[in-house]
């Protein structure tokens, strides 16, 4: 049993190093200018819309520019393939709001995340992501049992940090989670 726990710990620590390396590369490879073109201007206008008569007014108008989305998603997918076990690389972007908010913009194949409450269009700023957005330093998060995420900054051509990638895996994959 002790040996098993040790092996699992080694695996988890190896995963953590792998994810950190993917996150480091993601900062170099993900194009922040392209990310900023993903959500359409019309969708951004309606993303905070609260209509007491229509609870879906924001999400029904959510829209993206296909080309920017697809190019960025493909980069994220390639990054996730650096290792041979299930990893997702999700893209998160801050929203201009007080208090600050953030939204996931691209999710990937295994539908893993430590931060996304299923179905939320946007949510309160996540302190660890705020830290990455402010300092530009990668952060490893292991809040949710069995999950490891490394957060890394994404910069645009002005060297502004405009997004965060979440490189995430589970130490015990759940094949049926999020199939809904």
């Amino acid at each position: 049993m002790k040996l098993l726990l040790l092996l699992l710990a080694i695996d988890a620590s190896r995963m953590e190093r792998d994810l950190d390396e993917i996150a480091r590369v993601a900062t170099i490879m993900v194009d922040g200018d392209l990310c900023q073109r993903i959500v359409t201007a019309r969708a951004m206008e309606s993303i905070f819309r609260v209509d007491p008569r229509d609870q879906y007014a924001d999400s029904d108008n959510y829209d993206v520019n296909d080309e920017a989305f697809i190019r960025t998603k493909k980069t994220l997918m390639r990054l996730s393939r650096i290792v041979d076990y299930p990893v997702d690389v999700n893209l998160w972007m801050p929203l201009v709001a007080k208090p600050p908010r953030i939204h996931v913009v691209i999710r990937n194949q295994y539908e893993m995340s430590q931060f996304w409450p299923w179905g939320k269009l946007h949510q309160d700023m996540i302190p660890e992501m705020q830290s990455v957005l402010t300092t530009g330093r990668r952060v490893t998060v292991k809040q949710k049992p069995g999950f490891i995420s490394v957060l890394a900054p994404v910069r645009n051509s002005l060297n502004e940090i405009v997004a965060v990638v979440e490189v995430v895996t589970r130490t015990q994959p759940d094949a049926r989670e999020n199939v809904k």
Binding site: D51, R53, D54, Q55, Y56, A57, S59, D60, N61, Y62, D63, V64, N65, D66, F69, I70, K73, K74, M77, R78, V104, V105, I106, R107, N108, Q109, Y110, E111, G119, L121, A175, R176, E177, N178, V179, K180
Partner: protein, 595 residues
């Protein structure tokens, strides 16, 4: 079947004193009892307890009623039924419904006759519980000789005995096997099964057999109730559950299927019908199934727009076609359906309920690839399905010949008179979709969607979610607008338990099948006129809507509130159903057959 007006001797039931603090009585199926000896308020107008059961029914179907055992004081009791036809007895669970803080019966727990217990029923935990209700299904095989069958139900307790006669008149009419409309129950994935059956599926990582058994039982419970069951096998970013898709390996032109093991275990008995081999309806392949095809499966979205995407898609789908053909799985329509929405951030286009018209082009691409993968003369029935609401009228034309199976919002579809006929005339299949009446709705509301589907001429109706009972359906129920079957695990039965609303729906479908058969022989319009008149005093024209002013605005300017506002006048025509609505239709259906 129940003939309330003329054949039942209704009694006021102040007779408990005569039976030394106990009584046994019956109610027609649409009059749901409560645990205190009354009738749930919403079903009470026109309801009367009966001291005798008199039902008229066709063969090849069920006749149903409630049996209520009432004890004035806590005591043990026994209920038994003696009847010459096959009788299924279910204890009715009384759910405490949080929204209105009232009790409603819905979940049905199979019991055997004689049934012994006590009141208050210990597990239902209702301190003032004085009446236990039982749902009685009498199965009438097609081989049954037409005549009147007699038996009785008996209540025994320490204070005495009470019996009531049961009399079922079986007509020569036979409920057709084929339904007038397909009533579908929808669901997503299998993780909800793990939540609802924690004991049964505790060892799932080592042994998947209990999962497959449960999945088949869900199909079975809906099949037994003349319905179909859909289970979507992938998520909004393309994750496919392991039992929903064959395993694949390789990439690009090398991509192919490496194992059918779990897929075949899951779907084999459903596609060849053997999952239903012991059912009263007999073995029959399921008529429809969602395939796992989505933007991430079988082709990786990494290659979207490149030759590799098409290569992976065509390779794998071709292998699926070949496998299905070799297995002779040719009776089931294999649906290529895209459920994802861009709001869930997996893909850049909406597959479900397309609102932005430019998203249609993805469906055109998939149809092209599907045609490349599946030989034109294949006996396997691959079909492109689209679920549509906002832009349905535009999609009907833009995707003509691309989409052959439309599942459209029932309300907004009513704005396009003639659309059902137009689509069906070109060979498309058309279903509408909507929700499920909650337990606090009048029970006859369960018949509205099936009837409206038949009247408007669509092929089916989907209740969008029917397996989600909420966190605590037993003691803090949320109305049940997303559930028609319940986990039986707490009763030691690792299987889905039908609810009363599902039984009411089944019996309605039996009657619709009779009406459809009569319509094919006579004047459909005349029969439908009579049906809607009896149902809610309307004319056939009242069931057809007209386009609202909203349609003049661009779709992107509509919102859900506009939808609701535009539908209100139409829905108001069906707002005041009474408890006898369906019984009057049933009487007519049976009288047509008698003629």
């Amino acid at each position: 079947m129940w003939n309330l007006q003329s054949r039942i001797a209704a009694i006021a039931l102040l007779s408990s004193a005569l039976c030394q603090g106990m009584d046994l009585h019956a109610l027609p199926e649409f009059s749901r009892p409560d645990p205190l000896g009354g009738i749930v308020a919403v079903d009470s107008a026109g309801s009367k307890f009966a001291a005798v059961v008199q039902v008229t029914a066709a063969r090849g179907g069920y006749a149903s009623f409630h049996l209520i055992a009432k004890l004035d004081h806590p005591a043990d009791y026994e209920v038994s039924i003696n009847f010459p036809l096959t009788v299924d007895v279910y204890r009715e669970w009384f759910h405490f419904n949080t929204p209105d803080k009232k009790y409603y019966p819905d979940a049905l727990i199979p019991v055997t006759s004689p049934y012994r217990s006590k009141l208050p029923e210990p597990d239902n935990r209702i301190p003032e519980h004085t009446a236990q209700a039982f749902w009685i299904d009498v199965w009438i095989p097609t081989s049954t000789a037409p005549r009147t069958y007699r038996g009785e139900a008996r209540l025994t307790s320490g204070t005495g005995r009470k019996a009531i006669p049961i009399e079922i008149t079986v007509l020569s009419a036979v409920v057709p096997e084929k339904d007038a409309v397909t009533l579908d129950s929808n669901s997503y994935g299998t993780s909800w099964l793990e939540e609802q059956y924690p004991k049964t599926l505790a060892g799932l990582s080592k042994n998947q057999e209990p999962l497959f058994k449960l999945i088949h039982q869900y199909h079975r419970v809906f099949y037994d109730h003349r319905g179909t069951f859909h289970q979507l096998g992938y998520g909004h970013a393309g994750k496919v559950g392991p039992e929903f898709g064959p395993e694949t390996t390789g990439s690009g032109v090398q991509k192919h299927i490496s194992s059918w093991s779990q897929f075949d275990r899951h779907y084999g008995p459903l596609f060849d019908g053997s999952a239903f081999k012991d059912s009263r309806r007999g073995p029959r392949p399921i008529p429809y199934v969602y395939l796992p095809i989505n933007p991430e499966w079988p082709a990786s979205f990494l290659w979207w727009g490149e030759p590799g995407y098409e290569a992976e898609f065509v390779n794998v789908v071709s292998e699926m076609e070949k496998h299905f053909r070799e297995k002779n799985w040719t009776s089931t329509r294999m649906e290529v359906f895209f459920n994802h929405k861009k709001r869930y951030k997996g893909f850049p286009w909406d597959g479900d309920e397309i609102r932005f018209e430019r998203d249609n082009r993805y469906l055109v691409d998939y149809r092209r690839m599907l045609d490349k993968a599946v030989p034109a003369n294949s006996p396997v029935q691959f079909i492109m399905r689209a679920d549509s609401s906002w832009t349905m009228e535009h999609q009907f034309e833009e995707l003509k010949g691309i989409i052959k199976f439309w599942v459209v919002g029932e309300g907004s579809f009513s704005w396009y008179p003639g659309a059902a006929k137009r689509l069906k005339d070109r060979g498309d299949t058309v279903w509408t979709y909507g929700g499920t009446p909650t337990v606090q709705s009048i029970s006859t509301k369960m018949t509205l969607n099936p009837l409206r589907s038949w009247i408007t001429g669509v092929d089916g109706f989907v209740r969008w979610l029917t397996i989600s009972p909420g966190a605590d359906p037993w003691y803090h129920f949320g109305g049940g607008g997303e559930v028609l079957v319940y986990s039986g695990e707490r009763f030691g039965r690792p299987e889905p338990l039908a609810g009363i609303r599902l039984k009411l729906q089944r019996n309605c479908l039996q009657d619709l099948a009779l009406l459809e058969a009569a319509s094919q022989k006579g004047s459909r319009e005349q029969i439908q006129q009579e049906v809607v008149k009896r149902y809610n005093g309307t004319r056939l024209a009242d069931w057809h809507n007209t386009p609202p002013a909203l349609l003049a605005k661009p779709v992107l300017e509509w919102n859900n509130a506009d939808f609701d506002d535009a539908l209100k006048p139409y829905e108001a025509r069906f707002a005041n159903l009474d408890l006898g609505a369906w019984q009057r239709v049933r009487d007519y259906a049976l009288s047509l057959e008698a003629r």
